[in-house]
């Protein structure tokens, strides 16, 4: 870890660097965890404003977990046990037959089942699974972002993918 220039994040350059490093990750984390009913971009903004207001009290190495905690709490306040739903869009396909209506219908059905199965995962399982599969983040990276152990990430990932497989079969 490089030595910090300032002891806090009130320094503009330091603040901007933290933003560039974590804003996107925070945004996607909030989306994967809480779904598309809420605007994660607003919460990113709120979390960074909070960080700015308390910049004198937060040391740069602590900024990441500060932001993730604040973002998470803000979401929790907004969510209040609503069912998590993630929107899906068409994914670009090269080797698949676009024009076969039967295939397209089957694909759509699969995605609807996938969507339902995702909402049945625990928040912890869903966030690591989507960060891993969509963002291509390695176990170690996810562990650092979420402040959990590498082993915990591994465990959650395996439980997630296996649960999805079983749930989709049963749906």
């Amino acid at each position: 870890m490089p030595k910090s220039i300032a002891d806090n994040v009130c320094e503009e350059s330091q603040y901007k660097a933290i933003y560039n490093r974590y804003a996107q990750d925070l945004h996607n984390f909030l989306y994967y965890k809480f779904g598309s009913n809420f605007n994660p971009s607003d919460k990113v903004q709120e979390a960074f404003i909070k960080l700015w207001e308390n910049c004198a009290k937060v040391a740069p190495p602590k900024a990441k977990s500060y932001l993730f905690t604040i973002g998470n709490n803000m979401m929790l306040n907004a969510v209040k046990h609503e069912k998590v739903k993630l929107n899906f869009q068409k994914i670009p396909t090269q080797d698949r037959d676009h024009h076969n209506p039967e295939f397209l219908l089957e694909e759509k059905e699969y995605l609807i089942k996938y969507q339902k199965a995702l909402s049945k995962l625990t928040e912890g399982q869903r966030e690591v699974f989507l960060m891993n599969r969509i963002e291509g983040k390695r176990h170690k990276e996810i562990a650092e972002l979420l402040g959990i152990s590498r082993k915990a990430v591994e465990k959650r990932l395996y439980l997630a993918i296996d649960k999805l497989r079983v749930d989709i079969k049963e749906l």
Partner: protein, 297 residues
């Protein structure tokens, strides 16, 4: 067990070529690959990092400007105080002004606190504070006065004085009102002189004074918690308060603004606030930029 290890390694991209072959032999291999391929369909929506950063910056600057204004005021004060040392006993008067949608908490030299509502100003003399606890108020403020000598709030419409208590003074346009939350307050205006005990308030509008009870269990005016509350207030006063709490202009030329309004609105959500003040009056509103038009439904 071997399955779990293979899946974990696959998900971390650390399978060796031999392990990859083993992984492909798993009966679940096809399902896993399909799950993995289709996960892309659930990708998070695009995040416009620059736009988000810009709005953070503008919100930060808003806060910084107000503290800068404060700093320059301190500088002017320091100059005045320094001047006083060399020349006369010139008094150093301090004035705090709030803008639209801004509230400021001020600590006076004796640790009394004042919360100043939007578009208000408070002035007091720091030098003579020990002998004379007097502040000049234009607008609305909530006072928590430390025990001690007489504390006086002077406004254009009247004077309020106390020994140590919590009270709210509002002096806006034709309206003057005082609410006492603790202790006893003496109020003197052109058409009213008397004491207001805890749990009571007076409301003076256009020369008529009414004394009335406050809502039960209130310990501070609701505007200190970002809600403006009205009890039989003329609608024009509600509109004026709305313009102070949000950076908007309200056009209500076709609306009866002398009707009385009882209710409240929030300071945190313009749309909700507009609903709060229009629905009970059977009005509708339309927003164009910073101009809000109110009309009969």
């Amino acid at each position: 067990m071997i399955k779990e290890i293979l899946v974990s390694k696959w998900m971390d991209n650390t399978l060796s070529p031999q392990e990859l072959e083993q992984f492909k032999q798993l009966p679940e291999y096809g399902d896993y690959m399909r799950l993995s391929d289709y996960a892309q369909a659930f990708r998070a929506p695009d995040f416009d990092a620059n736009a988000c950063f810009n709005s953070i910056e503008s919100r930060k600057n808003l806060k910084k400007n107000s503290s800068k204004r404060w700093l320059s005021m301190v500088a002017v004060l320091a100059f005045l105080v320094a001047g006083a040392y060399f020349f006369t006993q010139a008094s150093s008067s301090k004035e705090i002004t709030t803008a639209i949608a801004q509230q400021e908490t001020i600590t006076l030299p004796d640790n009394s606190t004042v919360i100043l509502n939007a578009m208000s100003s408070l002035a007091f003399n720091e030098n003579t504070w020990d002998e004379n606890r007097t502040v000049m108020l234009d607008g609305e403020a909530y006072f928590k006065v430390a025990k001690g000598s007489k504390f006086t709030v002077q406004t254009d419409k009247g004077t309020v004085s106390v020994l140590g208590t919590q009270f709210n003074v509002q002096e806006r346009d034709k309206m003057f009102s005082v609410s006492t939350f603790e202790g006893l307050v003496r109020v003197e205006t052109d058409n009213f002189t008397g004491n207001i005990g805890a749990g009571y308030g007076i409301f003076d509008y256009n020369g008529k004074t009414i004394k009335r009870e406050l809502e039960l269990q209130k310990t501070a005016p609701s505007w200190t918690e970002k809600i403006s509350t009205f009890d039989s207030a003329p609608y024009s006063a509600v509109i004026a308060e709305m313009e102070r709490q949000f950076d908007i202009t309200i056009k209500a030329s076709t609306v009866q603004t002398n009707e009385l309004f009882t209710g409240s609105f929030t300071h945190t959500d313009l749309f909700q606030a507009l609903e709060n003040i229009t629905i009970p009056m059977g009005l509708k509103f339309s927003v164009t930029g910073k101009v809000v038009k109110l009309e009969q439904e």
